[in-house]
Symmetry: C2
């Protein structure tokens, strides 16, 4: 699978769409006149919190798992994740009937661990460092021959993530702007490829927590800046871009804007209250950016991808 | 509007559908494999919590408001409500550009009051008794000439409520069963008319809190039993059936089953957690009934109408 280090094309995203169509939800488009009024633009939400396993991550994991040749697939898949990618990969593997191993740091939220286990994956503990995650996964991979599926630095995962924007662009014509949050950059990369290939006029703008702004720093400086000490409630956005996702983002994204922790929590509450959907802090990030007026020339029709809804209901930030 | 004391027909529901189509959301159909597995049936949810003003109530209020002749409409509309109907009527009136007055008992939840006010309606306080609500509304109606729109004892309101089932039956063919909660019976009546007129084989079963089981008692005894002292967290289901809704329910509903308060709260939590949507306790009632195995011969394909999602996020029951 050497080709995975290059960017997916629109054709790869269309193929992903066909491959996962039988398994993934086609999430609806939601609108909310109250939020549109506040934003001064017509907002069209793509609620990937309603996706299977509660996040857009299922699209990429499913595309990666169902792309494997049968013999290779039978040896299983492996990843390291403390969050949504682990659950998504576990579910995709279960649907294909192959084993999944998820390496999880000891400080992972219990609710995410429970989700991974509920899909029948094997959970292996590691220390809460990137080095420990990677070495633990590598050792297990050598032992079992399982295929490693990276959460975002993977062509098939990015192509799968891009299917959300493919559906958004197909369901809502003439968008001026598409927004997504940015963490490792898988969702943003897939979104940017699908959106800019499908429309010559659409712009793609990402939003990022100010307390984990490596993508913003990288985008502004033109050099990949790694995230060292992320300080944000948006647990899906604490990772760094990879060279692959940074390259796609540099080429296709118009801007990256930042929001504060207070804005994230306030917006999360507002979306729950007005739209009646459960979103996690990461999903609130692009909504907060447009409500705060931080997106210059947003245009009149704005699509926003809500990345996921996996939160601990007994520990809400308000 | 004397014809309002008779049951609406399928044609009335189809007319309501056309009348409100421009204003109401066509809510999507949601599925959740985890909940379907638990229920032992394929569940198709119609999430009216995603409807405008956060509940199916907007459909009926909108149909009633836009059915009025222009001269009569200009005098405004009035109702008494401590909940979703008040907000729905206020929004429908704003959309038509006519005044709305909502009589609200002094013990109404502040969050619902704020919603009614946010739609620009005039709020008038009354004592928290049925007698005070009705006399206050009647006095104001005489004064202003506004049209009184009852929350459920109204043909146009019932026809509007039935459009949710019309959409459900159109989007999901071959349902064996359609479920809805029952309070005053407006949603259940509209649902039962639409469902049984559109399919000869579908059955309609309602669910009710055991602590406010007037519909269950009425259905079993064949005589209208009024709700005197409702004890349930499901604040949308504390009202009594009217002769109009009781007649429709007796003729078209196959069964009414009951659930406990504990089952309501547990199911509400489960739906938030697994489906990532904010539902109010009333919406959890039919889901709780089927998960508890209380629906005999549910069949393999079950449609469930989730009535609304207006809850106080700072005061959750878990």
């Amino acid at each position: 699978m050497k080709e995975q280090t290059s960017a997916p094309t629109l054709i790869d995203i269309r193929n992903a769409d066909k491959r996962i169509g039988h398994y993934a939800h086609r999430t609806p488009i939601l609108t909310c006149s109250g939020l549109s009024e506040r934003a001064g633009a017509e907002l069209f939400f793509k609620p990937e919190n309603l996706q299977r396993a509660g996040a857009f991550k299922f699209r990429g994991a499913c595309n990666a798992v169902f792309s494997l040749d049968e013999k290779i697939a039978q040896r299983g898949v492996i990843t390291h994740s403390s969050g949504n990618h682990g659950g998504a990969l576990a579910l995709a593997a279960r649907l294909r009937g192959i084993p999944a191993t998820i390496v999880v740091p000891t400080n992972a939220p219990p609710v995410k661990l429970a989700a991974i286990r509920s899909y029948g994956a094997q959970v292996v503990d590691c220390q809460p460092t990137v080095a420990s995650r990677e070495s633990t996964a590598l050792d297990l991979q050598r032992e079992t021959g399982a295929t490693f599926i990276h959460p975002y630095d993977n062509q098939r995962v990015i192509a799968g993530a891009g299917t959300a924007a493919l559906e958004l662009m197909s369901d809502v014509p003439d968008l001026d702007l598409v927004m997504a949050p940015v963490g490792g950059g898988g969702l943003l990369s897939g979104t940017a490829i699908a959106s800019t290939e499908l429309s010559k006029s659409v712009r793609v703008i990402a939003a990022e927590p100010a307390g984990a702004d490596d993508a913003y720093q990288s985008f502004r400086s033109g050099k990949l800046v790694l995230q060292t000490n992320p300080q944000t409630i948006a647990d899906g956005l604490r990772t760094s871009l990879s060279p692959l996702t940074f390259g796609i983002i540099r080429d296709r994204v118009s801007d990256i804007v930042r929001v504060s922790e207070e804005e994230i929590v306030e917006t999360m509450h507002l979306v729950w209250e007005r739209m009646k959907i459960v979103i996690e802090p990461s999903s609130a990030v692009p909504v907060a950016a447009i409500l705060a007026g931080r997106v210059a020339k947003a245009g009149s029709r704005v699509g926003i991808i809500l990345s996921g809804g996996n939160v601990d209901l007994s520990n809400l930030p308000w």
